[in-house]
Amino acid sequence: MLDWFDTNLVSMVDGVAYGLLLFTLAVGLSLVFGMMDVLNLAHGSLYLVGAFAAYALSDGSWLGFALAIGVGMVAGIFGGGLLAAMTAPLSGRGHLDQAALTLGVSLIAAEVMVMIFGAEVVPTQPPDALAGSASILGHRYPVYRLVFIAVAGLLAVGVYVAFERSSLGALVRATVADRDMVRAMGVDTRLVLFGVFAFGAALAALGGALGAPILAPGPGVDENVLVLSLVVIVIGGLGSVKGALLGALVIGQVQTLGVALLPTYAPFLLFGAMLVVLAWRPQGLASLVTRS
């Protein structure tokens, strides 16, 4: 048992890092869906925007790193606002049109990024100060990933607290639950929607800027992270922060530990995980921790 733990420790820590990375994407996707029934298929592009910002601006110094985060987030907020403005006029037309629109936007964004950054996956360096590796229980492990786990973990806790414990979070939760009632109480729900869209987009871009050294930007990466975060919110439960976090951690492990243990079944693990969770808890893992 201890041996097993020792052999797979690196995979498991990797899984936590991967899971937290997915959380930064999935939470925005999940909330936007929960609030306005919009499936934002361009969400993966926002990760790519942040990650390319990190690739273009980080030069190993702290200043470059901070600049990358700042630029990535501003671009993300801008992109999210644009998407919110584009989907708003379609609100009466069913989700297929909204999905088609965001799919179109993601194709355009992907092509534009290929034109600017080329059609290769570009490895991105973390700040020099974090580039080394540390030793955990006798294993060498990149320092940057450990720092990423700490930062993204704090971010997840911050989002969770803001969503569950603040009055602004209560407003968002109320809008997810019953938009018409919130509007009847005199709140401009469009503003709430816009805010959540922009917030989710900024978080995805931040995930990209921080995650670029772990999951390097390139063509196809947007699609890849989009599908993973969709699976995360299907597993976790739609429109819930807790669900997104739980689902992200599970999928992180499936994609690292699972693939390390069962390499031959790797392509089917993701579907298997979805199957098991949906058969066991059709409402997603969030229903395990929600009192109702």
Binding site: D97, S106, I108, I233, L278, A279
Partner: protein
């Protein structure tokens, strides 16, 4: 009556294709017909049953590999390949469908998208069956009927694809008029009421899903016969997106619209996109955005959709 004339004109135009077009254009029209079959499969779920899907590329791919493997190892007889590929698509849909049909609307879209992506990565990694990212080559030319010579000529391949397309188009038209087809429409329009009358709606959705999987599988076999090469890229996200775009451009719910949409999409990507020095996806994205804003009811919605004031009066009256 007007509809019937339209069908006859379309059929005559299709029959004349190999006589008036060059080999590359004929191959493109073959590709359009294959995509039209896939678009019908997507439309059966998205338009008719109200289950938006981005995962039919998975069953298309299963059919393409099944058809190709049948051609290489078993028989070069085309109809046999189509039947085996359709069965393979149906089995794959029956195995994966139960997860998807529990959901409706956007969650259904998400789950099918995940199924498509997983099938794509599986095709790339199951080297022993699919030859991985190298793709499956060496598919022998298809024999359209017992006793005929293998079809190598582009024009004859086109006629083979056209024949299978027409059979499938007719089968789908019959299906839509059957009580089962009407039940699928009911699933889209008012599932709660259907349930209240005593229909087991999830079972109907699953059967519809399996049929759509079979149609996509048949399209995959045609693809393998026409291209004589199958690679994981053939069941990638782009294929699913193209098929959905064809349905949206053509008008959700209309089968001839979906076929026309397939033509628009393929011509845009392979003809106009090729002239844009490989920026086909960019054009595709623009098409998506334009279709959503400008053609809310697709081509089959006709010109009426732009006369909005008239429609409002209708509602008022």
């Amino acid at each position: 009556m007007r509809g019937r004339i339209g069908y006859i004109v379309a059929l005559l135009a299709l029959l004349s294709v190999p006589w008036v077009m060059g080999p590359y254009a004929v191959a493109t029209v073959s590709k359009i017909l294959v995509f039209a079959v896939l678009a019908m499969s997507v439309n059966l779920l998205t338009g008719v049953s109200g289950l938006p899907t981005l995962g039919q590329s998975a069953y298309f791919g299963v059919g393409a590999y099944a058809g190709a493997l049948t051609a290489i190892h078993l028989t070069d007889l085309g109809p046999a390949q189509v039947v085996i590929a359709a069965l393979a698509g149906a089995v794959a849909a029956a195995l994966t469908g139960p997860v998807a049909v529990r959901a409706r609307g956007v969650p259904f879209l998400m789950i099918t998208l995940a199924i498509g992506e997983i099938a794509y990565s599986a095709a790339g990694r199951l080297d022993s069956v699919t030859h991985g990212t190298d793709g499956l080559s060496g598919i022998p030319p298809v024999v359209a009927a017992p006793g005929l010579a293998p079809t190598v000529n582009e024009g004859l391949v086109f006629y083979y694809v056209l024949a299978v397309f027409l059979v499938l188009f007719g089968a789908v038209a019959l299906l839509l008029r059957s009580p089962f087809g009407l039940t699928l429409r009911g699933l889209r329009d008012n599932e709660a009421r259907l349930k209240a009358v005593g229909y087991h709606t999830t079972a109907y959705a699953l059967v519809g899903y399996v049929i759509a999987g079979a149609i996509a599988g048949a399209a995959g076999s045609l693809w393998a016969s026409a291209q004589r090469f199958v690679a994981p890229g053939d069941l990638g996200f782009e294929v699913a997106a193209l098929a959905l775009l064809a349905v949206i451009v053509g008008g959700v719910g209309s089968m001839w619209g979906a076929c026309l949409g397939a033509a628009v999409v393929i011509v845009a990507r392979d003809y106009i996109g090729a002239n844009l020095s490989g920026h086909g996806p960019l054009l595709l994205g623009v098409l998506f955005v334009a279709a959503v804003y400008l053609l809310p009811r697709g081509i089959s919605g006709g010109l009426r959709q732009w006369r909005r004031p008239a429609r409002k009066q209708e509602v008022a009256a």
